[in-house]
Symmetry: C2
Subunit: 505 residues, 2 copies
């Protein structure tokens, strides 16, 4: 695979002197156009052999372009805040917003590749890592990110020569430590892993480019040109797509959604909506489960187990009340309720999952989402805020996101609070009639109600596609509020108990 | 001071049963009004004797109010990310945005009080901490934050009884560890420190309320009522102020600014604007300083010294070019340029310094601000975006902010790049005439130019009031670009060299 990167390609001083200023100007122009359009983020990943010029190239790109709109990232040992979250939290945190270019001097590739070369990771685990990378890059690319990956190569002999040369230079000798030589001796294993990695992660929307790193002028022009071309091509395509879309003047997906009848049969149709708990028993059972939850919270906290609760459900299904029954059993300092409404402008400048990643808490805490990432396949689908392509792929993205939470040991519990259409109408009318509850009822609630059928279908699809073994949906029959609250509390307790017991073993 | 909190005040069950639901409803209403107005943040600090019900009260408030709009915070041992920044970084990070209520179960008071009680901190250092607290709270209050501080009290005997009682309860015994008794034996020292602390930090816009903590019903109603009253009072005042302001229809401050003649004499008038460097020498000197800076960066990085560079200056004074000469000497992964333009909506929901706190980097890095927190006393002053009161107090707030950076060991270098009016005109015209530079020149640049005199006065005041021993302004004569770049690089090198030498001693 790397033969083509050991051809001894080089660029003469004269050629460089001629091409460099032109390329700089074009890169700067491309960067300015990108910033003005804010159409997509650019993610440039560098990987490869030590000494093949990764750092120098990134430094050079920082001089060629406007450093104010570049984000340069490298990842060392994870900080304790990073260690307490799933691995990819630090990568999500570091992503550039639309309109900016992120240069990743080390990345999601670094740890797996090194761990594999030094045999700290099994071949199976490595495949798992590579799949995660593919999924991650795919999610970003589907969201519009332009992803470019450069593998900077240097032959074994060339690297040997380089290390020897550095050792002789008193000002650069510090760069050659024991690790550098140790790493050199692993060269063959490194190349084998590299080939496999590149093959598995080389996708159309996140391609690898292998760059011969021996000649600084050659590699600089090669990388710079590739970035320039890719950015300009994508900008042109984006501009064209915008004007084409304007010409077409699509019918919004919402139009379609409204035509779904509300009598449709879904998973929800099978729920026994007469379930209730006797008022006399309700208080006693709520108290019991709250006490149990309080104890479990402390045990989970001590074991470093984080818990994430997701609440979705019909308007007026009683999400708020159920959440309060949970939080009132918890230590307020250990828990946080995150209400999900319209995204802020910073959130809008990133992939839609970004805002949920940023809310992941440190170890041992409770995070409760009042509505969640499922908005993508519910309201955004039904109202046509997301394209069909976007919400269709969201199921897979959500499953990938949740599997990372679970792998990190987080207990994830998801609730759909279900009420019947009649019960919703009764509650809406009650809210209308009660002065201090009237603010809770908006025109939007009435509009959503008209699309009951479309929402029911969306809920059905959501549950079918995202209820997994480790992150199942719990459907809560919520016509009786007390019954719903007891069921929510009991479910949280059961799941937490299992997690604590499992951790102890 | 605490006598009034040892009177044995209590509330009967019947009274509580009557008052509690009313108070809950009112608190919820106040919270909803606050959220709808998004007029100001509410910061509620809890401190006091262990066992006086801090945690229980905060938990209760979380059940009384809507937990979705509450932010509950407590601070344990600082994480490594926190340790690498000035102490208050974690507090700034945790502040609630306008419209929300933050409950601080521990706070900026916790560490200093404990350190003082256990004599790990000198009395002088303690006074310094208290001053910092007063300044911090004052800055937030001046920005509109409603600050309430509750000191939860329990007499020495009462605390003794409580510990004994807890020890007898098998389910609660875990709460009484060796530290709890050790802490109890320090009770008198604690009370002395507490009295002093409360006296020094009890200000009109951030008052302390001492609450007798022995009776749970009494303390809950007392705290809840105080929060309700303060929030409602402030909401009413805010609503009144808004309508009054509308009625007045102020003349904007900008109107005044424009009348300042541009011939005004300021600190800038004394600069020798003919300074230049011979073109032949410029390249060689730039190279030399860049080499020196690169070496110093590594030494500073190894010593954990962070560097912050602030660039301010006239439009077209060459900030961008100077910044690029600095960044091109640095490792891109170790440095970050932060361009300061309009704030995002998340930033707008906080104190104006919040957005700068959030950009402080981990130890050993370079952060370069292209424009900065000085916008408050420059553009915001001249254009009337900030009220006179707001920009007048900003000098003190900025000095306090910078002193925290310096205390943490950060090297702070501030540049004002100065050009003459004639030179600016020449550069504007050159930009107009050069196709690929035309985008850099906006109508705003021409408008700013018309207000040269007002800006010159603002710059003069800024330098006079914020040039301190540890954070002096460097005025850069920038009519000759090369001269300016050399001076910037040399200044950064000199300051960094001193810091590295100092750290070594």
């Amino acid at each position: 695979m790397f033969e083509a990167a050991e051809l001894g390609q080089s660029v003469s001083k004269d050629e460089y002197r001629e091409r460099e200023p032109v390329l700089r100007g074009e890169l700067l122009d491309a960067q300015n156009r990108l910033r003005a359009s804010a159409a997509f983020p650019v993610i440039v990943v560098f990987a490869g052999v030590d000494g093949a010029g990764k750092g120098q190239t990134v430094n050079l790109l920082n001089t060629w372009m406007d450093p104010r709109w570049l984000v340069t990232r490298a990842f060392g040992e994870p900080s304790d805040e990073e260690q307490e979250r799933p691995e990819y939290w630090r990568f999500w945190r570091a992503l550039p917003p639309r309109g900016r270019i992120g240069l990743f001097l080390s990345s999601w590739y670094s740890r797996p590749v090194l761990d594999r070369v030094y045999r700290r990771m099994s071949s199976n685990a490595y495949e798992h890592c590579l799949n995660r990378i593919v999924e991650f890059e795919q999610a970003l690319a589907e969201d519009g990110a332009l992803i470019l990956k450069f593998w900077m190569h240097l032959g074994k002999e060339a690297q040997h020569t380089r290390l020897k040369k550095l050792e002789k230079d008193p000002t650069l000798r510090w760069k050659v430590d024991a690790f550098a030589w140790k790493h050199w001796r692993k060269y063959d294993a490194f190349i084998t892993t590299a080939e496999h990695t590149i093959r598995q992660t080389n996708r159309g929307d996140a391609p690898w480019m292998i760059v011969e790193g021996a000649d600084a002028r050659y590699r600089s022009l090669t990388v710079g040109t590739a970035i320039r071309d890719a950015v300009i091509k994508r900008l042109d395509a984006a501009a064209e797509a915008t004007s084409a879309a304007r010409a077409r003047a699509d019918t919004p997906a919402a139009g379609r959604a409204r035509r779904v009848s509300s009598g449709v049969t879904t998973i929800l149709s099978n729920l026994d909506m007469t379930k209730q708990v006797a008022p006399a028993k309700a208080e006693e059972r709520l108290d019991r489960y709250q006490g149990r939850l309080n104890l479990l919270e402390r045990q989970a906290g001590a074991a470093g187990i984080s818990t994430i609760l997701v609440f979705e459900g019909w308007d007026a299904a009683g999400k708020g009340g159920a959440i309060r029954r949970v939080t009132s059993a918890l230590e307020a300092r250990q828990s946080q309720v995150i209400p999900i409404a319209a995204p802020t402008d910073e959130e809008r400048a990133h992939h839609y999952l970004w805002r949920f990643w940023r809310h992941l808490s440190r170890a041992g805490r409770f995070t409760i989402f009042d509505r969640s990432w499922y908005g993508r396949v519910l309201v955004e689908r039904v109202e046509g805020f997301a394209t069909e392509r976007a919400w269709m792929r969201a199921y897979a993205e959500i499953n990938q996101f949740e599997s990372q939470l679970i792998e990190h040991g987080i207990v994830l519990v998801k609730f759909w609070l279900h009420i019947t259409q009649d019960e919703q109408l009764r509650r809406f009318k009650e809210r209308e009639a009660t002065p201090h509850k009237r603010w809770k009822l908006t025109d939007e609630d009435w509009r959503n109600r008209e699309r009951w059928g479309a929402y029911a279908l969306a809920v059905n699809d959501m549950i079918e596609r995202t209820s997994t073994g480790d992150a199942p949906w719990t459907l809560v029959e919520a016509n009786d509020k007390q019954y719903a609250r007891v069921k929510v509390l009991k479910t949280v307790c059961d799941r937490l108990e299992r997690a604590v017991a499992h951790r102890r073993r």
